[in-house]
Assembly symmetry: C2
Homo-oligomer: 338 residues x 2
């Protein structure tokens, strides 16, 4: 195995100098740097991060723990986190808990053992501040995204779900809809409750009875959502519009509308949530609440970077607002309101 010492010998300098070159230190003269770099190439030197990490007080690695990497929201988030952290020379290690508490515990442990400089995490349901205590104990900063643990003294980046969902419903109300269904999530009950709260806020603000609006929950699959939408549309309440928990459910609901022989955006209006990349590419292009997951990722990255620099900063929370992206799945109701 070729080490710093081998490079040093070939370049005719000391081990310490080669080390400085590795780290792009300004302390080394240009001429020397060139010489060392040539020597490195000549002997085929490969930097040993384990050795560096052992000695150094920080590892320039950051952990990102998320519940479902296949979900576009989280891959966008990842991109945003990297936008900020990669230019700072930090490597982001991604890990997927798949919504399993056990897997999350395992990953938390592993990242602790590799001495990450910090952690960005979207916790699985049931996580408590206690689960993250080992990090606080040895002073590794944590930034939460999207999901927040009660009473945990961590930085946070996320969105205002309640207000966002309220805006979605208000958009439909403004178009003249009076019978609006809500297709919620059977998968994330906690977030679902908050978003449904926003939905009710909107309905009540127009003096309509929130209780009489038809509601259903489903899994985040096209098929489930299609069935749910069909059920709602053909129910006695006969909604002319649907607020959907997220874009995937809205997609499924669109398919349900097609299956009923109706035209989405004409016979039935639909609003999604998240504005994942494919929303704009949907047919018809999906009206949805944009949460700018990539931007949230940038926020999280920035919060973490700041705290790594200064652990004693006051706890900071960045809550963005979801904004309406009006496209072609929403329009005034076709059938007259009853």
């Amino acid at each position: 195995m070729v080490t710093l010492l081998d490079v040093a010998k070939v370049a005719g300098v000391s081990r310490a100098t080669v080390s400085l070159v590795c780290r792009d230190s300004p302390l080394v003269a240009e001429k020397t740097r060139k010489k060392v770099e040539r020597a490195m190439a000549e002997v085929g030197y490969v930097y040993n991060r384990s050795a560096a990490n052992l000695r150094s007080s920080f590892t320039n690695t950051v952990g990102l723990i998320i519940p479902d990497i296949a979900n576009p929201v989280y891959s966008d988030l990842l991109t945003g986190v990297e936008d900020v952290l990669t230019p700072l020379g930090k490597a982001v290690f991604i890990a997927d808990t798949n919504e399993s508490e056990e897997r999350q515990a395992h990953l938390l442990q592993r990242m602790l053992e590799m001495r990450v400089d910090g952690l960005v995490i979207s916790t699985v349901g049931g996580t408590t501040a206690e689960d993250l205590a080992p990090y606080t104990r040895i002073g590794v900063p944590i930034t939460q995204v999207f999901r927040m643990i009660e009473d945990a003294p961590f930085d946070y980046a996320g969105i205002n779900n309640r207000l966002g969902c309220r805006r979605a419903a208000e958009h439909l109300l403004d178009l003249g809809h009076r019978h609006i269904g809500f297709i919620g999530s059977a998968v994330s009950p906690s977030v679902n409750q908050v978003r449904y709260g926003g939905f009710c806020d909107a309905v009540r603000s127009r003096d309509l009875p929130a209780e009489s609006m038809p509601t259903i929950t489903c899994k985040h699959t096209f098929g489930d959502a299609a069935v749910a939408a069909k059920k709602l549309i053909s129910s006695a309440a006969a909604p002319t519009a649907l607020v959907c928990f997220n874009d995937i459910i809205a997609f499924g609901a669109t398919l349900g509308v097609y299956e009923l022989g109706l035209t989405p955006g004409l016979d039935v209006s639909l609003v999604g949530f998240d504005d994942i990349e494919s929303a704009a590419n949907w047919r018809p292009p999906l009206t949805t609440m944009s949460i700018e997951a990539r931007q949230i990722g940038r926020h999280a990255g920035t919060l973490l970077a700041n705290r790594i620099k200064d652990l004693d900063l006051p706890v900071c929370s960045m809550v963005s607002e979801a904004v309406l992206k009006q496209r072609e799945t929403t329009a005034p109701p076709r059938r007259a309101a009853v």
Copy 2:
């Protein structure tokens, strides 16, 4: 920072013994292990992987480099790789190149520096064996998945794209379709060429003129695919069925069919490729060629694990066949063949 030595002192044993306990060695007596474990908990010991990796000849980490983590094919692949490698005590580090050669080069370097025990990679276009030479030089095994570099002496796990696409077209031919369109990929030209080759094989095997079958390529988005499908269907060739490069394109094509006021699976038959999770959940459920990405992931994991154990094994290639999953987007043609 609390180290092995601190634990050893509290437990009243030597550093070496504590180290053995950390690694679940059978060399240590049950009574001693208990004692040490209690001590670890008492002093709040956290294992230091960097220190271990420095001394030890392997790190129990494996790299997985893929071009697009948001693509369900690759998240399934990841799951499969972990299925095999996690039980062996190896941590899988995921990294996304986003189809960028530059990012890939950077990630390859980083993983080399962290001394992964092995690498599973789906290379971006343009990668040569030379790019992977540093790995071979220091004896880190590589397993390729899905994509293969010419003349590279690495293990490989993937599928027979040509045969798979041939089977897709044959399925439509068997149903009686005589005018079949092909919607290819504008993103992965190399794979596209292979799959289109399979399509032609099928058509020619029935003594039909492959050249007269309408063809188009598009990006992997719903919108693009919808437009492409509409173009093909309303072209002079008037295909009654479409073979799609992958499921995403098939989804978009379905939406295009709906937009034309036609019914997918009735007026126009569609076959996808990949059988991602949402294919079965699509409306109507999508007929597609299943590649069992998770299984391929298991293959890759197994190949890598074997080679880590024995570098001198002969190069091994596992090419699976895609199998038809007939669902509801394919049926005999409605309009009589011209």
